[in-house]
Amino acid sequence: MSILVNKDTKVIVQGFTGKEGTFHAEQCLAYGTKIVGGVTPNKGGETHLGKPVFNTVKDAVASTGATVSMVFVPPAFVADAVMEAADAGIELAVIITEGAPVKDMMYAKQYATKHSMKTIGPNCPGIITADECKIGIMPGMIFKKGNVGLISKSGTLTYEGANQVVKEGFGITTAVGIGGDPIIGLSYKQILPMFEADPETEAIVMIGEIGGDLEIQAAKLIKEQITKPVVAFIAGQTAPKGKRMGHAGAIISGSAGTAKEKMDALEAAGVKVVVSPAEIGKAIAEVLANR
């Protein structure tokens, strides 16, 4: 078992024939992801990476039955692509592109929600179910199959966390990189209950960072609904106030969104909070031993 995606998930790529889209679609195919085609306007009818290209998402869905889209279009076209996917009945759009304007995402996410389409990202590494399906840009070989679910705002911390979990002798069910923009799709609040319901997931790693209050919302939810052990790390304990730390959303505004308030809230919810990402693996080993 896993969450959101598995070996049978049919995926299309929006921005299929572009440089990034091509490179990463190829990597996903090599991993075993069922990419059934892609969309590039005016290239409909062509074949790319051995898969059919369509002019519109509607065409792609009609002829392939795809339910998930991996979005690689340039930043200015992300909202359009996401709304097109929602309109065409896609169930989940995984948005890899970095630098989409916040206002665009505000509209796109509202529209997606109205059409019951889930989104992940933007500006994220994507989602991977170990040994089954990789939709994104993460190095697949790190994610050995196992019993730990992982959610992270940061790409490289996703790899760091997964790598440590694997080095401790465990593995990953599904890892989701949710991105660090001010407006993102699925977040801890939606994904934690999925891991709770997944029989294969026995523990959860949650990696957050400064800015916004998604981790605080997560803490509330964990307290009320999550019985599986959760290990958390919040990046940016040493980040200065008012400075944007790489991710558009990673900024302490005034006194809100600090690492400390998030760590305190998570700790109060019974989460094992580590102060350095170097401790994630050990902490998982510990909570799994104490089950």
Partner: protein, 391 residues
């Protein structure tokens, strides 16, 4: 990106948001000429820097004659203004805004920002204008009114009513003026892809008009591509030159006040590296994200920028190679040490794809001050020891 008060007011004026009349000046002579053009017998001379707290720092002064305008403009232009937001080094004032005096009856606060939890803009307003809004929020949260605007319906009448009744405005004419003000400001926010607009204070004049006495605007950097008119308002003297240089090479750099330079791929891991150094008893000298494709050129640039900081006693390169293979990065690092004179110990941790090959490359290169580390904890510990001269 942020802009100056006078630029924000230019934008307000284009949208019909009332502001006092004013003209920007670069010299005392120009300041006097502008005051003459504006007419009247009272003017405000305002230092134009991005940081807040200008008034308290002595950067905003009232002039009651043209001579006084000249005197104050001479004083403020070229001064290093220190406010709670500039840091102790202050900010050089290069422009002053000469504005007509206003007849202030009440001072209010109004801002439009993104509410990240609701994923919609909110208008925040308060009767406590002229004060630090964080302080108001903390001490008297009931004095802050928040009105969420769903962008799919835009600013409606009920939003306006919530706002004016919340602010205790009872005069119907004043209510109309305030609602008009707020709806126009919301339009500015949406049209310009603003990240925040803050007017503090927004004043009510003796005649019952509402005007923006101050104006602060910040924009979504990701949207600047579709606003060339805003890009023209960029004042590079307001940006940290090192941060700016780094960004031109696709690096994201922020200087801190510690001793260990950090070069990391990915913003989250970069913060996590700083946190780990701190946890192990060291102090990070910077945040530096070299991005997804660390190569010899970007790594060399990273070294160069880090080493501009004289406090740096050691550098920790922490790269988790994913799609980019570690052996390539290792070669890039070796290449970079030839391009830049790296005179402090460099601790290198390369993990992920082809990490063993990378370790071999670094070992064989046998460069005295390049010290390999096995993982994040090991690297951070070595960096802390190296900075203390204990390695």
């Amino acid at each position: 990106m942020n802009i100056h008060e006078y630029q924000a007011k230019q934008i307000f004026a284009q949208y019909g948001v009332p502001t006092p009349r004013g003209i920007i000046a670069n010299t005392p002579d120009e300041a006097v000429r502008n005051a003459e053009k504006l007419g009247g017998d009272i003017w405000v001379v305002k230092a134009q820097i991005h940081a807040g707290g200008r008034g308290l720092g002595g950067g905003v002064k009232l002039a009651k004659s043209l001579d006084e305008v000249r005197e104050l403009a001479s004083e403020i232009l070229g001064m290093t203004l220190i406010t709670h937001q500039t840091g102790p080094e202050g900010k050089l004032v290069q422009k002053v805004y000469i504005e007509e005096g206003a007849d202030i009856k009440d001072e209010l606060y109004l801002s439009v920002v993104l509410d990240r939890a609701q994923e919609m803009p909110i208008i925040m307003a308060s009767t406590e204008g002229g004060m630090d809004i964080e302080t108001v929020a903390e001490k008297t949260p009931e004095k802050i009114i928040k009105v969420t605007i769903d962008p799919s319906i835009g600013f409606q009448g009920f939003h306006g009513r919530e706002l004016v009744f919340g602010l205790g405005i009872t005069d119907k004419k004043e209510q109309r003026k305030m609602i008009d003000f707020a709806s126009k400001l919301y339009k500015v926010y949406m049209d310009k892809d603003a990240e925040m607009i803050e007017i503090n204070p927004l004043v009510k004049t003796g005649a019952g008009d509402f005007i923006a006495l101050d104006g602060k605007m910040g924009f979504d950097d990701s949207a600047l591509g579709r606003h060339p008119e805003l890009e023209d308002m960029r004042d590079i003297s307001e940006e940290d030159p090192d941060e700016r240089e780094a960004s031109q090479y696709g690096l994201s750099y922020i200087a801190l006040d510690g001793e260990i330079g950090c070069m990391v791929n990915g913003a989250g891991l970069a913060m996590g590296t700083m946190d780990t150094i701190n946890y192990m008893g060291g102090t990070p000298a910077n945040f530096l994200d070299v991005g997804g494709s660390a190569n010899a050129e970007t790594v060399a640039k990273g070294f160069e920028i880090i080493l501009k900081n004289p406090n740096v006693k050691a550098i920790f390169v922490n790269i988790f190679g994913g799609i980019v293979r570690c052996d390539r990065i290792a070669n890039g690092i070796l290449e970079a040490t030839k391009l830049v004179d790296v005179h402090v110990p460099v601790i290198v941790r390369l993990d992920g794809t082809n990490a063993p090959e990378a370790a071999e490359i670094l070992k064989n290169a046998n460069i005295a001050n390049v010290i390999p580390a096995t993982d994040l904890a090991d690297g951070a510990a070595k960096a802390v020891a190296a900075a203390k001269g204990e390695l």
